[in-house]
């Protein structure tokens, strides 16, 4: 099996799976319980939080565990937006955000003005335009660190500095789902940051929200006092411990892995461009080495996907036969002949440079076959 859909989700590392299996029997007690069993679990939870805080270089009390980035995005965005509903104001975002950002903002479109940054055919934005949109009454800026369909990296550190240097009350939210532990980032000028465990070989159902201590808002869900009461409910303690394990392993190996996936992406891209005509590369030059988006002229991405799965090569597409193309690919302004043939390859430590010739051979074969139909 050659799994190239690591943006959708990753396979947990062996060590993570073992940690989860062990923990689920051992650390079953409720961290809120007063007895010593509860205390032990509470301390384990604290250790993970501490470890994450130190990696993110933030305070321990600023890290909140959630069920994943979708929930983190919701807590952060709805929290900030609801707080500003009465007073009103503006939001800046991009048109190619993940649905868990895009659709949250859309929920409030009747009450709030949204300024969308324009993106070019690589999904990139312009900082000049950003500066010009940033107003005194802009109360929220939300943008992803790495685009999940294209790999485009946004200059979020610089955007943070611009916000800090401008007379505005804007809170800065960054959806870090595809960049977390993969593309380096300093959270110094960022107020809210979301991430998921299952994109870095951790279990599904766990994620985090970093919230700068200066930002305050009401929770979306009311309940107990867990996670600073912004995410109440008994913690997914086993998931969180396994997430912690995944983060520590990523911390050790991310540099090496970055080099590894960069080589694979480069080899695949060069191979495809030299062997197949009519290919448009949607990922920009300096994109995340984990993500490669390509559009093949005159074929359907989904058909290519199904042919490749026959050889146990698993990729993804942004366009389903019936559903047209995704909102991200739509924004790129590609010719229809290309946009329907958009596929995405996402890499991980499990992929090997040795597999590249085989993958290339299959791509060349099937693209030709489909074009001959």
């Amino acid at each position: 099996m050659i799994y190239l859909d690591n943006c959708a989700t990753t396979r947990p590392r062996q060590e993570v799976a073992e940690a989860l299996a062990k923990s689920i029997m051992e650390d079953f007690s409720n961290p809120s319980s007063l007895h010593s069993l509860g205390l032990r679990t509470e301390q384990r939870l604290k250790e993970v939080r501490k470890g994450l805080a130190s990696i993110l270089r933030v305070k321990e009390g600023e890290v909140y565990f959630t069920s994943g980035a979708t929930e983190s995005n919701n807590i952060a965005l709805q929290g900030v937006i609801r707080k500003n509903l009465k007073r009103g104001g503006r939001i800046i975002s991009s048109p190619i955000e993940h649905p868990s950002v895009k659709n949250v903002i859309a929920q409030y479109r009747d009450d709030i003005e949204v300024d969308y940054l324009t993106v070019n055919d690589k999904g990139e934005i312009s900082l000049d335009e950003f500066k010009s949109l940033l107003k005194e009454d802009t109360f929220l800026v939300s943008i992803m660190h790495v685009n999940n369909e294209l790999g485009t990296i946004y200059p979020v550190e610089e955007m943070g500095r611009i916000i800090r240097g401008t007379k505005t009350r804007a809170v800065f939210h960054v959806d870090g789902t595809q960049g977390f532990m993969k593309v380096s980032l300093n959270l110094k000028d960022i107020d809210l940051y979301s991430a998921s465990s299952h994109k870095i070989y951790g279990p599904k159902g766990v994620g985090l929200l970093y919230k700068d201590s200066s930002v305050n808002f009401n929770p979306m869900t009311y309940g107990g006092s867990q996670e600073g009461a912004i995410r109440p409910g008994t913690e997914n303690i086993n998931g969180i411990l396994a997430f912690g394990r995944a983060v520590r392993l990523m911390e050790e190996r991310s540099k090496e892995e970055f080099e590894h996936v960069s080589l694979i992406k480069k080899a695949l891209l060069e191979g495809i461009l030299s062997k197949v005509d009519g290919v448009h590369v949607n990922s920009p030059e300096n994109s995340s080495p984990y993500i490669l988006s390509l559009s093949f002229k005159g074929i359907r991405g989904e058909t290519l996907l199904h042919l490749l799965e026959g050889d146990e090569i698993y990729i993804s597409t942004s366009s389903a036969c019936s559903g047209g193309v995704s909102h991200v690919v739509e924004e790129l302004g590609l010719d229809k002949d290309y946009s329907f043939g958009t596929v995405r390859l996402c890499f991980s430590h499990e992929n090997s440079l040795k597999d590249v010739p085989y993958i290339l051979e299959k791509f060349v074969k099937y693209v030709k076959e489909l074009r001959d139909i």
């Binding site: 989904e302 058909t303 036969c321 019936s322």
Partner: protein, 386 residues
């Protein structure tokens, strides 16, 4: 005195000489439908079937039995000895339990036992009086009674009020076998249902074109088939890959003929499946003029390749009427889910809407039809439903 469930037949009450066969078939269907519930007995008493079972299971039994084709009504009734005083006592009990807030009634007796000493009218009068005495707040209304109080005099007497309507139709298997062309759309499940309701034993053929369609499209059809099986029982879906045929058509014929040529191949393959299953006809969900391939010319072109009769129960239905049935049999919600077949890859921009048969045959001339059909038959996957 005890409660039983009575089952009135629909049309098969009229079937004369074949009646015994229909009744036996229906009794079998009922046994299959409630076998897991643990009823005591199913028996016949002059033109109706009766089920003896634990009263607590009545609602479940009634709900299942009413979905079986060939049944007009299902009722909960009280079985009593034929003695008129017994009938009177039973009537009081039954009325008390079942009248609810209703106040007006009329007694209607059906006397199948012609040797019974009282005439129907006399029984009506007698029991009417008993009820009036027993319930001083009730009155008789012969024109528009709130309660029609039925008494059937047979080997024993049966008292009942409310009749739950069944599906009508004929018991499955009494009208032969058919192969239905089942897609993931709205129409074909309805067509299959309607033919099954007329007593036909159905199996289905499904065409996909993986890798041009997703596996999810096939799963959707299987889920639709599972819904259908609530009515038509166990059956088989023969899933056939049409991709190679579509590729061949795309290469060897004018793309405007894609749809009609594909249909012709589907009919040929379905016919082969039908012969194998000893089915006597094909069933499609075509409705005249609904889409480009369902013009009379399009239908003529696809019809021409089948030697079996092709039944099209929806041919004169409006889409809205088809949707209504689809909602009623609960296939609609599943049918409108996405993952519809994405033969869109091959969908011509301007399909011929009124293809002439000789032109269609001309376009097909360059294709090795027999070979393509044989190859497609090799891709068949058989899925057991129900």
């Amino acid at each position: 005195m005890n409660k039983v469930i009575s089952i009135s037949f629909g049309e098969l009450a009229l079937k004369g000489g074949n009646r015994k066969y229909f009744e036996a078939s229906l009794a079998g269907d009922i046994r299959r439908a409630i076998g897991d519930i643990g009823y005591e007995k199913i028996y016949k008493d002059q033109g109706k079937l009766y089920i003896e079972a634990d009263e607590r299971d009545f609602p479940t039994i009634i709900n299942r039995v009413r979905k079986i084709f060939g049944i007009a009504y299902v009722s909960e009734c009280l079985r009593v000895d034929k003695d008129i005083d017994e009938i009177g006592r039973g009537s009081i009990d039954f009325m008390r339990d079942h009248r609810g807030a209703r106040r007006t009634f009329k007694v209607r007796t059906k006397r199948s036992d012609k040797a019974y000493p009282m005439q129907s009218n006399d029984i009506n009068m007698k029991i009417g009086g008993v009820i009036l005495d027993g319930f001083p707040d009730m009155t008789v209304d012969v024109h528009e009674p709130e309660i029609m109080f039925y008494i059937d005099i047979k080997k024993e007497a049966y008292i009942y009020i409310d009749r739950v309507e069944g599906q009508g139709g004929l018991p499955i298997g009494t009208s032969g076998r058919g192969i239905s062309l089942l897609s993931g759309g709205i129409d074909s499940p309805v067509a299959s249902y309607l033919m099954a309701k007329r007593g036909m034993k159905i199996d289905a053929v499904h065409f996909h074109s993986y890798p041009f369609t997703s596996e999810r499209a096939e799963l959707k059809v299987i889920e639709l088939a599972e819904i259908l099986s609530r009515y038509i029982g166990k059956f088989k879906v023969y899933s056939v890959n049409l991709a190679e045929i579509q590729k061949a058509i795309n290469k060897g014929a004018n793309e405007r003929y894609m749809t009609v040529l594909s249909r012709r191949f589907m009919m040929r393959i379905a016919e082969r499946v039908a012969l194998k299953r000893r089915a006597q006809c094909l069933i499609t969900g075509e409705s005249l003029g609904q889409v480009a391939s369902q013009t009379i010319e399009g239908i003529t072109a696809s019809n021409a390749v089948s030697n079996l009769p092709v039944l099209r129960p929806l041919i004169a239905y409006d889409k809205t009427d088809i949707i209504e049935i689809a909602k009623d049999i609960e296939t609609f919600e599943k049918s409108i889910e996405p993952y519809e077949d994405c033969c869109t890859v091959f969908l011509p921009k301007h399909p011929v809407t009124r293809p002439k048969l000789e032109d269609v045959e001309g376009e097909e001339a360059g294709l090795d039809v027999d070979f393509l059909v044989e190859e497609a038959l090799k891709t068949i996957k058989i899925i057991d439903i129900g």
